[in-house]
């Protein structure tokens, strides 16, 4: 699929001097983020996800629907998010999704439209620290290699933006003990935090 339907106004962002985006080979999106002053920029590309979205392009349906800006729970088909478990009621669908004629886009806090493959710029609007950490490698994951071309997993590879909290899951099995030996049984739990039991005892009296 074509690499970038990146609108021209994104180039305007480059005027800020802080961010440059450019069409990249093989459908990745390349970001350049300035690191600490005096250091070189950090450049990376982000693995695109747009191809894997089921309800895309949004325009296929929304072209024929009226735009409704009222904050509400949606009445929708199964699979299409009806509301958000994100932000505790502080945001809703159109906080991130574009409601103008550019149905297939997201938008950032400046109101500028963003391609879905640059959705991490939307997250960055509120989660600036994580965005900073992510662009430098302290958060999230890098694809396959530790040197050479730096491709990052986009935020949404791990965090579903509609309910980003990661659900608990079962762990893999505990380690075995040496072949032929039995695990230790009957362990009495350790000393715990001493002051906690003291205050609890006092509080209960």
């Amino acid at each position: 699929m074509p690499g970038g339907r990146i609108p021209g106004f994104l180039m305007m962002l480059s005027l800020t001097g802080l961010v440059q985006a450019e069409p990249a080979a093989e459908g990745t999106v390349v970001e350049k983020v300035q690191q600490d002053p005096g250091r070189s920029e950090v450049t990376f590309s982000v693995r695109p996800r747009r191809d894997q979205l089921y309800f895309y392009p949004c325009a296929d349906c929304h072209e024929f629907m009226d735009s409704n800006g009222d904050i509400r729970q949606l009445e929708v088909e199964t699979g299409h998010p009806a509301g958000l478990e994100h932000g505790d009621g502080r945001i809703w669908c159109l906080s991130c999704h574009s409601s103008t004629s550019q149905y297939n886009m997201l938008h950032d806090l400046l109101g500028q439209d963003l391609d879905l493959d640059r959705g991490y710029r939307v997250c960055a609007g509120c989660h600036g620290e994580h965005y900073r950490d992510w662009s430098h490698g302290a958060h999230g994951k890098r694809v396959a290699v530790w040197r050479g071309e730096r491709v990052l997993f986009s935020c949404v590879e791990c965090h579903n933006p509609h309910h980003p909290a990661i659900a608990p899951r079962a762990p893999q099995p505990p380690p075995p003990v040496r072949a032929g030996l039995e695990p230790m049984k009957g362990q009495v739990s350790g000393k715990g935090v001493p002051w906690l039991s003291r205050t609890e005892g006092a509080a209960s009296e």
């Binding site: 003990v177 040496r178 072949a179 032929g180 030996l181 230790m184 009957g186 362990q187 009495v188 739990s189 350790g190």
Partner: protein, 399 residues
């Protein structure tokens, strides 16, 4: 020289019925142990009770104890050659025989503990790579081998001279004797440093470990020698002066008192302000998290040592052979527990990551260990037979 060796072999092959029964019994134990070791060789160390958590066990426990026994031969060498005590000089070769047997046993315990014993030659500089002087284990190999050579060489020279009907030249062997004295202290200090070098194991990482090793060696060594000399008195016509036994018992008394003082020092240091360095000793004496498999052993050992030191401190009891022998047995077993399992195992419990995983030796381990002990007894028996025969003039070159 060849004739000496032939005569030596002939001497040890002659003996009364009890002698042969004893050797036969030892051979049976050795055979049983060899069968166990073959099983260990073919299946792997999985047949032992060791694990990643407790990666040294019964074998190394015995190794640590036996290096102490070997070092204690110096307690006969010093009075014999430095202070020229004639009574001790008569039995000094027996002591060196014990040292030889003990060193060989110690080395064998290390060999059976190796995961790839056929690769031991990797330690030989030249064909292999010897990490000397950085590795304490390399130091131990050097000092133990040297000690074995010294304790074979010096007695061999003395015996051979007597065999030839002459007197050994003091000027020739005295420097080696002095060397052997320092070397004896070094083998046990190096073995202590083997353990105390590891800050990863707070239980061992104490400057007191070296002194404790020497003190406990000077308890268990003389104890064993005293018992051995009385056995020799019983089964042979070899004359052993009571003054020798008195001297050894006195040394043992002081050493045990000092050793117990060291135990008190350890207990105070670890329990007054308990931190992470104290967890292992708490496990040993009191148990942690509900696990306390070594607790009965260490308290028994402490009890044995206390009874022994009481007997030894009271002069009449020390002079009385019956009570003295009881004290020797108690002290030897007590030190064996304290320095063997009571030293090696708690160093691994808890692991550096805080896990409590206990250890019990398996029957295979015990079988192999018994075989090594039996082999040591056998080596000593043969050496003692030869020494006594030569010293008594029963075996000479002129015949």
């Amino acid at each position: 020289m060849i004739r000496f060796l032939f005569d030596a072999v002939r001497t040890v092959l002659q003996g009364p019925r009890e002698y042969w029964l004893w050797l036969l019994f030892l051979a049976a134990v050795i055979a049983y142990g060899v069968a166990n070791y073959v099983q260990q060789l073919t299946t792997g160390l999985v047949v032992t009770g060791m694990s990643d958590q407790v990666s040294w066990g019964f074998y190394i426990s015995n190794f640590a104890f036996l290096v102490g026994i070997a070092a204690a031969a110096v307690l006969l060498v010093i009075p014999a050659y430095i202070f020229n005590r004639r009574d001790v000089k008569e039995v000094v070769l027996v002591g060196e025989g014990i040292a030889v047997a003990a060193v060989i046993m110690a080395m064998l315990f290390v060999v059976v503990d190796l995961g790839r014993p056929e690769r031991f030659w990797h330690m030989i500089p030249g064909p292999g790579r010897f990490n000397f002087p950085l590795s304490l284990l390399a130091w131990d190999v050097v000092v133990l081998s040297g000690y074995l050579l010294l304790n074979l060489g010096i007695p061999f020279y003395i015996l051979y001279s007597k065999y030839r009907g002459g007197e050994p030249s003091l000027r020739l062997y005295f420097p080696f004797v002095v060397l052997a004295i320092f070397w004896a202290i070094s083998i046990h200090t190096v073995t202590a440093f083997l353990f105390s070098a590891n800050p990863a194991r707070p239980y061992w990482h104490t400057a007191l470990l070296g002194p404790r090793f020497i003190a406990s060696a000077f308890v268990s060594g003389p104890g064993l020698i005293i018992l051995t000399l009385q056995v020799i008195r019983r089964v042979t016509s070899y004359r052993i002066e009571q003054s020798v036994i008195d001297l050894l018992a006195l040394i043992m008394t002081f050493a045990l008192q000092i050793n117990l003082f060291f135990v008190v020092a350890e207990l105070f240091t670890d329990f007054y302000n308990e931190g992470s360095h104290s967890v292992s000793i708490r496990y040993l004496f009191f148990g942690i998290e509900g696990f306390a498999s070594l607790r009965p052993w260490i308290w028994t050992a402490l009890g044995m040592n206390l009874v022994a030191v009481t007997i030894l401190t009271i002069h009449p009891l020390r002079r009385n052979l019956v009570t003295l022998n009881i004290a020797c047995v108690l002290a030897c077993v007590g030190i064996w527990i304290e320095k063997g399992m009571g030293l090696v195992i708690p160093g691994f419990i808890p692991t550096p990551l805080g896990e409590v995983f206990e250890y019990t030796p398996t029957r295979t381990e015990l079988g192999v260990s018994a075989a090594i002990w039996a082999l040591g007894f056998m080596i000593f028996t043969l050496l003692a037979k030869l020494v006594i025969a030569v010293e008594q003039g029963k075996v000479t070159h002129a015949r």
